[in-house]
Every structure is written in C-alpha cells, then in structure tokens.
C-alpha cells in the first residue's frame, strides 16, 4: 500500500541518490508538512467559526451572517480574520510581557503539535507513533499551561480567576479522559493511531461496523464529555464564562494574539473530534466504491479521507449544538461531576473491559458495556434530585 | 553517537542545580520545584542507562516510571502542606516559618 511514510522514504532515497545531504530533504518534508497542517488549521477553523455562527443562528431562529462574500456570508470569518490581523496589538502596562506574549504561542503550538498523529486516511499520517494516542493526549494537556500563563500574566483579576478555574478543570477532566481512552486501547492492544483504526475494520456480529463505540459506549460518552471540558466548550466553558468572568483568561488579549487563542480553540475542537473518530468511530472506515480510472488503493484512500472528515465534523456539529442548547455549569458542580460521576464510571468500564478481555469472549463486551451503561444510568438517577431548599435553610 | 557520559553529566548538572535550589530558595513552592528538578536529573540517568545497557532489560525505564509516580505523590502532598502552611502563617517563605525553632 502506498503510504505517506513510504512516499517520504522514496523522496529521501531520490535525494540521497542525487548526493544531497539528508538534512535537506528532512527540512523540505518538515516545512511542507507544517505548512499543510497550518493551512488546514486556518482554513478549517475559519469555516468552523462560520459554521458555528450559522448553526447557532439557525438554532436561534435567525440567519446569522448573510452579507460578506455573497452566498450566506461565507466570507464572514475571513473578514473577521483580516480585521483581527490589522488591529492594534495591545499589551497591558502591568502585564508580565514575556509570559503574556508566550502564552498564545504555547496554546497554538500545542494544538498544532497534536495534528502530527491524526490518521487522515489509510497511510496518510504524518508520523504513526507507537504511542500515538498517549502523545496526543499529553500534547493537548499543554494547552492548559498556555491558558494559565495567559491568565496570570494579564495581571487582571478576571483573567486570574479564569486561569485558576482552568487549572482546576484541566486537572480534574484529564483523568477520566485518559481512562476512557484506555478501554479501546486495551481491546486493540495498541496505542498507535493507525493500528487503532485498522483494529476497527471488522464487523461486530457481521452486522455492525467494527467501531469501538459499540462495545465502549460508556467510554465514548465519558470521553466526549471530558473533551468538551478540555476544549472549554459549553456547558464546561467556565474558564471564559463571558457572563461571569467577562472572557476569563483572554480578557486582555486583542488583535492577532486573540486570534491565535480563537484559532486554537477551533483547532483543538478538531483534535478532540479526531481522537474520538479514530478511537471510537472507526476512523477512515466507511463504505466506499472503487472509482473508475483510479487504482483501488487511491479510491479507498480518497473515501477514507472523506469519511474521516465527515465523522469529525459531525462530532464538531454536536459540540456546537450542545453549546447553543445548554446552560453553563458552576465550578463546584463541574468538579463534583468529574470526580464523583465520571471517574468511578470510567474505572468501572476499565475493569469490565479488562475482565472481558481476559475471559476472551467478544460478545461479552456488549453485555459489559450495556451493564455499565445501566449502572451509570441507575447511579445518576438514584442521585438525589437537585435538592429543593426549604425556607430558612442555607446550604 | 552521543556518549553515555554526556547524558550522565547533564543529569548531574540538573541534579546539582536542583540541590542548590532546594537548599537556598526561600519560597516553599520553589523548593518543591527544585526537588522536581533533582528527580528529573535522576530520571535522565536511569533512562540513559536503560538505553546504553540493553542487558538490563529496561530496568532504568521501569524505575523512571516509579520515580515519576513518586514525584507526583510528593508534589501533591507537598503542595497540600504548602497550602496548609499558607493558611496558618500567611506566607510560604520557609525561613519565616520557624515555630519549632528556638
């Protein structure tokens, strides 16, 4: 099969044959990959911002941007981007300048670095690390560092509160997030993103696609919840909660630096969706037909590319949908939810998955998954309903 | 190829810097950070040995994992202590916290 890696190898070999030192092709490949990724992020984020505005508008019985660019205001975010680029770059007088300038770069850089192991299509992956999933999770945790740096260096109380909230949120939600990813990793027996997708190529009972979302439905739900918290999306957007903290950690940022935070938020949404797609939704797998005049592999690859994008953007759509439907949680509720609900359920899921794998009965995975789902539902339902406080009683 | 001694010297430098910081810093959190540096210097040595002595079957990496775990536990307890100190003394400067000294 023609993979990206083999293409790169061939390129190296060709360059070596011409007697060019190997540093040159390495640099060329690096520059090309980075610019392709950056271009993808910029374009995708711009259109995601536009979609977000259109989706929110249609949920809210209005049209959203309609003018810039003609058809349904498709050029609105491009115009916004140009505006942000041209804006004056303000650094507050009391800010810690070095950290202030560094913070958006850390956030953006961490997000971009995570694109290295996204498996776009069969063979199309920048680097299929054998610890791919761990790498992605750990690199995305760097985003929080940038947020804290931004919040602290702004020398603004709202920003500091936002940063504190962000730190608390990140530390809490990272734990169930990693634990929920372990279930599929255990089933597949690998952490490499490409192999995780290949492990989902079969079919469950000959009917369902072999995606891990079916046996690991609980893990998927936990992952998606935590991913929302990782991206600071509603209902977990308390670090920036504009009605309480105005804009939280990026309240003092303007112009290009603000645009970097903004871009990173949407790029990060894509990263978490890509992880979910890869680990739970079968990655590039999907029905495909051999196109006439194209080799089988290329057609497979093209369809895979499309399927991967479709799944990712569906998850992003769900995130936007949730954002415009739900209210924001409170800090203490957010923490309690992570530690008291998500963490125990993800542990239970891990234990059941491990037991089933030891027993070696694939069908049991479903029984286990459904049992945990029921257990979680019962646990959630049995929790005392939001307590109605009587007169004179203070909580 | 990078000689093993390079890694060992680097680990030694980081460890010594950590020792210096742990001995001299006044801020309790800075002391904790210095201790983390020391642990990292040790980890570097462990991993370098694991890489260069294949007959040890990656013992070094296993121990590095243990060190990281212990470091996490140490940081958590240490920070809890620092916060407790701060609540009682309104400072995290260790040389001002001298109730037990006479």
């Amino acid at each position: 099969m023609m993979t990206f890696a083999s293409l790169v190898e061939r390129f190296y070999a060709a360059m070596a044959a011409w007697g060019i030192p190997w540093i040159v092709p390495t640099l060329i490949v690096m520059v090309i990959v980075v610019s392709v990724v950056l271009a993808y992020i910029s374009v995708a984020a711009m259109f995601m911002i536009w979609w977000e505005r259109k989706i929110s508008a249609h949920i809210q019985v209005r049209y959203g941007p309609m003018r810039v660019g003609g058809w349904h205001g498709w050029a609105q975010s491009i115009a916004d981007g140009i505006k942000l680029l041209l804006k004056e770059d303000l650094i507050p007088a009391g800010a810690d300048k070095v950290v202030f300038v560094l913070a958006p770069m850390v956030v953006f850089g961490a997000t971009v670095a995570a694109y290295v192991t996204i498996p776009w299509a069969p063979g199309l992956i920048v680097r299929d690390l054998n610890i791919g999933i761990l790498y992605m999770v750990s690199i995305s945790s760097l985003v929080v560092v940038g947020i804290i740096m931004a919040g602290w260096s702004s020398n603004n109380k709202y920003a500091t509160l936002g940063a504190l909230r962000s730190a608390a949120q990140a530390v809490s939600y990272e734990v169930p997030l990693v634990l929920s990813l372990l279930g599929p990793v255990m089933i597949a027996g690998t952490m490499s993103m490409g192999k995780l997708v290949e492990a989902q190529s079969g079919r469950w009972f000959g009917v369902l696609p072999g995606w891990f979302v079916f046996p690991q439905i609980v893990a998927f739900l936990i992952y998606f919840t935590c991913a929302l918290a990782e991206c600071n999306r509603l209902p977990f957007d308390i670090p920036e909660a504009e009605s309480e903290l105005v804009a939280g950690f990026h309240v003092e940022y303007s112009g290009m630096r603000f645009a970097m935070f903004f871009l990173a938020e949407y790029a990060n949404m894509f990263v978490v969706s890509a992880i979910a797609t890869t680990v739970f939704l079968g990655g590039w797998h999907g029905p495909w037909i051999p196109l006439p005049g194209l080799p089988r592999e290329v057609a497979h690859g093209l369809f895979g590319l499309v399927w991967f994008q479709v799944k990712c953007y569906f998850l992003i759509f769900v995130m936007m949908w949730l954002r415009w439907t739900l209210a924001r949680l409170r800090v203490d509720q957010l923490m309690a939810f992570a530690w008291k609900v998500l963490l125990p359920i993800s542990f239970a899921n891990l234990i059941v998955t491990g037991l089933v794998l030891v027993l070696g009965k694939q069908a049991l995975l479903y029984v286990g998954g459904i049992a945990i789902l029921l257990l979680a539902a019962i646990l959630l339902a049995a929790r005392p309903a939001a307590r109605t406080v009587r007169v004179g009683e203070r909580t | 190829m990078i000689p093993l001694s390079h890694y060992l010297i680097l680990g030694g430098i980081i460890f010594s810097l950590g020792v210096f910081g742990a001995l001299t810093r006044r801020n309790a959190i800075a002391i904790l950070m210095s201790i983390e540096l020391m642990l990292n210097g040790v980890n570097l040595n462990f991993i370098a040995f694991a890489r260069y002595l294949p007959q040890t079957m990656l013992q070094g990496q296993v121990f590095a994992i243990f060190v990281i775990t212990v470091a996490a536990a140490e940081a958590v307890v240490g920070l809890a202590i620092v916060l407790g100190l701060y609540r009682n003394f309104k400072t995290v400067n260790v040389d001002e916290i001298n109730l037990m000294k006479w």
């Binding site: 809210q60 109605t388 | 309104k90």
Partner: protein, 381 residues
C-alpha cells in the same frame, strides 16, 4: 460545607473560625451581566463571595426633582423612562395616582384597554427577563426565542401607540385614542401563537437539569428577610408570601378577572424563575378575559384643560412586573406637584442583594442578580 462569614473587617470561617484571605473584584459598571450600569464590589475568598456592595447612581437623572417642575401631564413621559422595559406599567401607576388624588372616574373601555396593555407589557417584561437570565447562565438560545415573542408584543404596541419602547400612552382620565381596528384580531393571533411557546421555554430551561442545578438552592432570601427589606412582586412571591397588589389592594378593574397568584416557597432563584414563568400564563389569561369583555364606548373622560388636583396627598401603588410601583404625590392645588416621590420596586429588591449573595460563588452572583430583575433606569431614577 464551611462558609466564610465576615465579622467586622476580618473574615472568619463559619465552623472552624479560621481567618481567610480576601480578594476584591469590581463587577461593573461595564460588565455583561450587571444589566446596565450597576457596579458591584465583590469581596471574594477564592470564588466564594464574602460580601457584596452595590454602588448605584450611574444613571441618576433627578427624576423626582424634574417632576416637581413639570405639570401633571408632562410627567407622564418621564415615568416611561423609569422602568423602560415596562413603560406601560409605569404610566399606569402614575395616572392611577393622579386620578385617585383627583377622585376621577374613567370610562369602562379605557379601564379594559389599560389592563390589556399593562398585562401584555408584563409578558414582554418577563420575556426580556427570561432571555437575559438565560444569557447570564450561559444559555444563549432562549434569549433569541424570548425576543422573537417580545417583538410581536412590541408590534402590537406600535399599532396602538406608534411607539415601541417608551409609549407615554396613558392619560390622566383615560386613554388618548381607541385601539386600532385590527388590534383585537392581532392580539388574538399573538395569544394563540404565544401559548404553545411557553412549553418550549420549559423544554429549554425549566426541564433542563443543568439549569435546575444552577438555580436551585441559590440566592436564598428567607421570608423574614424579604419582608424586612420590603421586597415586592415576584421576589416576595418566591418566598411563599402571597402578595399581589392586583389581588390584595385591587385597583382598576383587576377584581373582575379570574387569575391565580403563583407562589413558590423555596426562596431561591428557582422560585423566582418559576413565579415569573407562571405569571406569564396568568397574564395571558387576564388578557384573554379582558379582550372578551371589552365594552364599547368612550376612552377618555371629560377633563379640564389644565389638571389641577385639589390640595392633598396620596400614596398610590400598582403591581408592575417587578413589584410594587408606588407614587407619592403632594398637591398644593397648583398645576405642578409640590412633592413627587417614586417608590420603585427594583431599587428595593436590589437592596436585599448583599444578603442573598453571602456565601455564594461568583457564578451564582450572576444568577442571583439576574433573578432580582433590576432595571437601572428605575433603580437610579
């Protein structure tokens, strides 16, 4: 949970007696959730609010002093600007006071018109409250839904008065003109559209568990506190006290209609939300009955050219969407009031805010402030 309690200038934990570190945060006057130019000084321990000091007066414009230098009819447009989200109710309260001072009776049809407009205004005011409250809690969508319905009410008002916000439509002695011909059918159309929308709001707000978690048990004002501070309107009815001037001190023709006074006794933000949510239904009922009973006839009583109430004084109160709007007028027989004083509900309700906020989180502060439903035009006058 242990909560910080301020004792004098220091802050002491409720149970352990430990003293805490404080942080001051200025909320407002430019803050998205203060609903105008209100400034709150929050004294925080972490995210817990130890104390809250509201600073008001950014919108003060000598309403009462201006009133003493205008004649009785000229004051009406100024009352619009008190509670600019419920101008009809402000007009209503003011003309009621002057008519009571003069002992003036007004035509039946005018009374019905007043009630219809005032109740539509109550719905509009509660809608804008519901929308911004959702916004405070991070739910943007309800805001747009509420504004859609409010626009329809404003269209109705525009067809009647020609204005969309500050109507100045009530006159001492009646109404300046009758409803336009299309109003009755338009109003029916609106009501049939509006009634099925209320369950939609329930679906997005009332039944949403995240919303419930945010509002239940937050911002408690026990009934005794509520009475001590003189709260009124939905704030008081959320404390289990059944007090509505439309029932307890009937004015105009409110005694002719069948409607309930929604009362909830949990004293929290949730109760205030539910009271206002139910009041919208009751207002729909009143409007429907009034439309059905609307008698024909004149809309303006015969009034002298210059209104000169006899010397005397009056305190007259009415139920605005925010509570008891009271007008205290001393007349010396001249065309201008000798003394003109407004008792505005939002100002009084806001005074209980520090009491409700103690021990809450910053996020709760927004919810509690939203639940008070302040309009700064009325607070600052």
């Amino acid at each position: 949970m242990d909560r910080p309690i301020p004792i004098g200038t220091t802050v002491v934990m409720e149970r352990t007696g430990e003293t805490m570190e404080e942080m001051y945060v200025n909320m407002g006057p430019q803050h998205p959730s203060t609903h105008g130019v209100l400034r709150l000084m929050l004294k925080l321990d972490g995210e817990y609010i130890i104390d809250c000091i509201p600073y008001i007066g950014y919108l003060h414009r000598c309403h009462e002093k201006i009133g003493e230098n205008r004649n009785y009819t000229q004051i009406i447009p100024y009352t619009d600007r008190l509670d600019y989200l419920a101008s009809m109710s402000m007009n209503f309260g003011y003309v009621l006071a002057v008519e009571r001072l003069m002992g003036q009776k007004i035509p039946e049809r005018a009374e019905y018109m007043r009630v219809i407009l005032a109740e539509l205004q109550r719905i509009a005011s509660h809608l804008i409250w519901l929308g911004t409250f959702g916004l405070d809690l991070g739910n943007f969508t309800i805001f747009m839904y509420c504004f859609r319905e409010r626009e329809m009410i404003l269209d109705l008002f525009e067809s009647v008065t020609g204005q969309r916000l500050n109507y100045s439509f009530y006159r001492i002695g009646g109404m300046p003109m009758d409803f336009p011909e299309t109003f009755l059918t338009d109003c029916q159309v609106f009501l049939t559209w509006f009634k099925p929308r209320l369950p939609e709001y329930d679906a997005i707000m009332t039944d949403n568990i995240l919303f419930q978690k945010r509002v239940q048990g937050v911002g408690i004002s026990p009934p005794q506190v509520a009475v001590d501070y003189g709260l009124s309107g939905p704030m008081l009815r959320a404390c289990g006290i059944k007090w509505d001037l439309r029932r307890n001190d009937p004015y105009s023709i409110y005694d002719r209609f069948e409607f309930d006074i929604p009362v909830f006794d949990t004293c929290d933000v949730w109760a205030r939300y539910m009271v206002r949510r139910k009041e919208m239904e009751e207002s729909v009922k009143i409007v429907e009955q009034a439309l059905a009973q609307l008698p024909p006839g004149e809309v303006m009583a015969k009034m002298p050219k210059t209104i000169k109430p006899p010397a005397g004084q009056i305190y007259s109160r009415a139920e605005s969407p925010r509570g008891e709007i009271g007008f205290y007028i001393i007349s010396d027989g001249s065309p201008k009031p000798y003394r003109y004083k407004v008792r505005s509900p939002a100002y009084v309700n806001l005074s209980a805010l520090p009491e409700m906020l103690k021990g809450c989180l910053v996020a709760d502060c927004v919810a509690v402030l939203g639940s008070v439903d302040i309009v700064l035009g009325e607070v600052d006058r």
